[in-house]
């Protein structure tokens, strides 16, 4: 019984840690790529586009922790975030370069 409790506690902490990593790293990555795409739609000037992306990045970032802490499956969180960052990253790369 004690082992089961200890295991479930460890599992809970690991799950929480994975969520925090997903929220921070994923949030930063998606925040940056998504804001670059949105900024490119706002202005064509490189300097202004960079400034606009920086202004929007925090709003884009904040969406991720909300989703990460609602979604139950850790697998879905990581797959979803990697897919979203890959997709938005490619698009951002295409728009910037």
């Amino acid at each position: 019984m004690l082992i089961i409790t200890a295991n479930s506690n460890i599992h809970r902490w690991i799950t929480l840690l994975l969520r925090i990593i997903a929220a921070t790293v994923g949030g930063y990555g998606l925040g940056v790529t998504l804001s670059i795409i949105l900024a490119a739609a706002v202005t064509s000037s490189v300097a202004e586009s960079a400034l606009a992306a920086m202004l929007m990045s925090f709003a884009c970032f904040i969406i991720v922790p909300l989703w990460v802490f609602h979604q139950k499956s850790i697998g879905k969180i990581y797959i979803g975030l990697i897919a979203a960052i890959a997709l938005t990253g490619c698009l951002a790369w295409f728009l910037v370069v």
């Binding site: 490189v46 300097a47 960079a50 202004l55 970032f61 909300l66 802490f69």
Partner: protein, 529 residues
């Protein structure tokens, strides 16, 4: 069982709110005090005369040029700041040489620098809210950034979990235990929600270059000068010119002021910035106030410093994107705010601090109820939070009162006096943490609230004993800056006195109405102490 979005956000709200709450409370209190930074500066330098603003621009600039020619050469830069509004109550004359800034407040009456006691003043208190005082700039930027993101997340999740935002605007049920704390938490949050969202987001915008440098790299590449290139494109001007090494006489600045006034308006000039004075490549930038509205930017005219030829005009409103940034920064600092709006800023800041404080107390109350129901024992984490709460919520104002008192009580000639004022503040705050750790929690609340009462009331009294700019003198002279400070200290003392009395009464009530044995004996023990 599937949890709803609102339910899952509730946990996130609790933990994001709690983890950095003590630091955020410090940031809110010191930042809120910063809305009256120049007024606090004035109180902390009672030797200064009553500020006289809006003197003749040409005459003042001419006087300042003479002073700088005599005292401020060689220099990389001169700055002549006119006393235009409460943000610059005294004219200043400064010169920069190898990064070091010299000069200070200037007296137009006798062409000398004004002298007053060394103090951190309101500026130090204000700067603490993002520099965190003892930390290096790199570390404080990271810590403040993380805390601010947590704040933003707590605000957004707070909005999501709220079912009845409008109803909460009008709901407060006193004397209902944790329900009352929740009402107070909701009320302070909802009442100042637009301010909290603005102040948090704009706080992040202030330091965004450091937080998301990867965006600049994405646009400009990873070379060392990428950031410099970005800065140059967004903020640069014709004034960016290095010294030639060839001496040349600086043109008469008052003539440039006359030209600039035709564009900026009569008596609208705030700053005359001279780069490379006495050099062939001298540039003069004349600008109006960056605090004339929420757009935190000024109109600038750039002149050749030798020929006096006008080279460039840069308008405050340059592009939409930059204007969004400038408005966010302007709203955050509130430099444009007239007295009424400034007080509104101040009270909104206090509501923010109250939101955090009530959230912390609520967390403690709920946990305590839970543990008392379950085991009748105390949890170490709960004990820690409760003690951190009181030492922060009441301890910080006590430390600030000590900061003000140290300004009057430390010897005027003391070396590094400004540093010692800050040391007194943090030492007294540390003592409040030790006091909270050593005493029973109810007596700590009561004790610290009474201490805060005594200290805040003693600030104007000590001022009366140690300086001739006391409350009666200020009221008689109509000096509302100093009188306002002293009266605010009395007001704060009164607020803490009421709070102390309420804590005492509620503790008494609790003792009478709650006869559960282990807790009752503990409470009785607390009361005896």
């Amino acid at each position: 069982m599937k949890t709803s979005f609102r339910q899952s956000m509730s946990g996130l709200h609790t933990w994001t709110g709690l983890l950095f709450a003590w630091l955020l409370y410090f940031m809110f209190i010191t930042g809120t005090a910063g809305y009256f930074d120049t007024e606090i500066d004035r109180w902390m330098q009672p030797e200064l005369p009553v500020a006289v603003m809006n003197t003749d621009t040409g005459e003042f600039v001419s006087q300042a040029q003479d002073f700088l020619s005599d005292n401020g050469l060689p220099a990389d830069r001169w700055l002549i700041v006119r006393a235009l509004d409460r943000n610059d109550p005294y004219p200043r004359v400064l010169w920069q040489q190898d990064g070091a800034i010299h000069g200070g407040m200037f007296s137009s009456e006798d062409n000398t620098l004004l002298t007053a006691r060394e103090t951190g003043g309101g500026q130090l208190l204000y700067q603490m809210h993002w520099r965190l005082h003892y930390m290096s700039r790199n570390i404080s930027d990271i810590v403040v950034g993380i805390a601010t993101m947590f704040m933003l997340l707590a605000l957004i999740t707070g909005i999501i979990i709220h079912k009845k935002i409008f109803k909460d605007f009008f709901t407060f049920r006193p004397a209902k235990g944790s329900r009352s704390w929740l009402d107070l938490h909701n009320l302070s949050s909802v009442l100042s929600l637009p301010f909290q969202l603005m102040i948090t987001y704009s706080g992040l915008v202030f330091m965004m270059l450091g937080y998301v440098p990867v965006i600049i790299s994405a646009h400009y590449g990873f070379a060392d000068d990428a950031r410099q290139q970005f800065n140059q494109e967004i903020f640069s001007s014709a004034a960016e010119l290095s010294s030639s090494g060839q001496k040349a006489e600086l043109t008469e600045l008052s003539k440039l002021v006359t030209t600039a006034e035709t564009v900026l308006g009569k008596d609208q000039i705030r700053l005359v910035d001279i780069r490379n004075p006495g050099d062939q490549n001298a540039r003069v930038i004349i600008s109006d106030s960056h605090a004339s509205g929420p757009l935190r930017s000024s109109n600038r005219l750039i002149f050749d410093g030798v020929t006096g030829e006008q080279l460039e005009i840069r308008h405050a409103y340059e592009t939409n994107v930059k204007a969004v940034r400038d408005v966010l920064l302007g709203l955050h600092e509130g430099l444009f705010a007239a007295p009424l709006l400034r007080w509104l800023y101040f009270f909104s800041g206090l509501l923010g601090a109250m939101m955090i404080a009530t959230g912390l107390v609520l967390w403690g109350k709920k946990r305590r109820q839970k543990f008392e129901k379950q085991r009748n024992t105390e949890h170490l984490g709960l004990k820690l939070v409760e003690r951190l709460n009181v030492a922060t919520i009441v301890g910080l104002p006590i430390a600030i009162a000590c900061y003000f008192l140290s300004n009057r009580l430390l010897p005027v000639e003391l070396a590094q006096r400004a540093d010692w004022e800050a040391h007194v503040m943090f030492i007294s705050w540390a003592l409040m943490f030790i006091y909270a750790a050593c005493r029973p929690i109810h007596s700590v609340w009561r004790g610290q609230l009474y201490l805060a009462t005594g200290l805040f009331i003693s600030v104007p009294l000590v001022n009366m004993i140690t300086s001739d700019r006391h409350l009666i003198h200020s009221l008689e002279a109509g000096d509302w800056v100093l009188a306002g400070f002293d009266l605010t200290m009395f007001g704060l003392g009164l607020v803490f006195a009421i709070a102390a009395q309420r804590v005492k009464n509620s503790h008494k009530k609790k003792l009478i109405s709650k006869p559960t044995r282990p807790i009752q004996s503990r409470l009785l023990k607390d009361n005896n102490q």
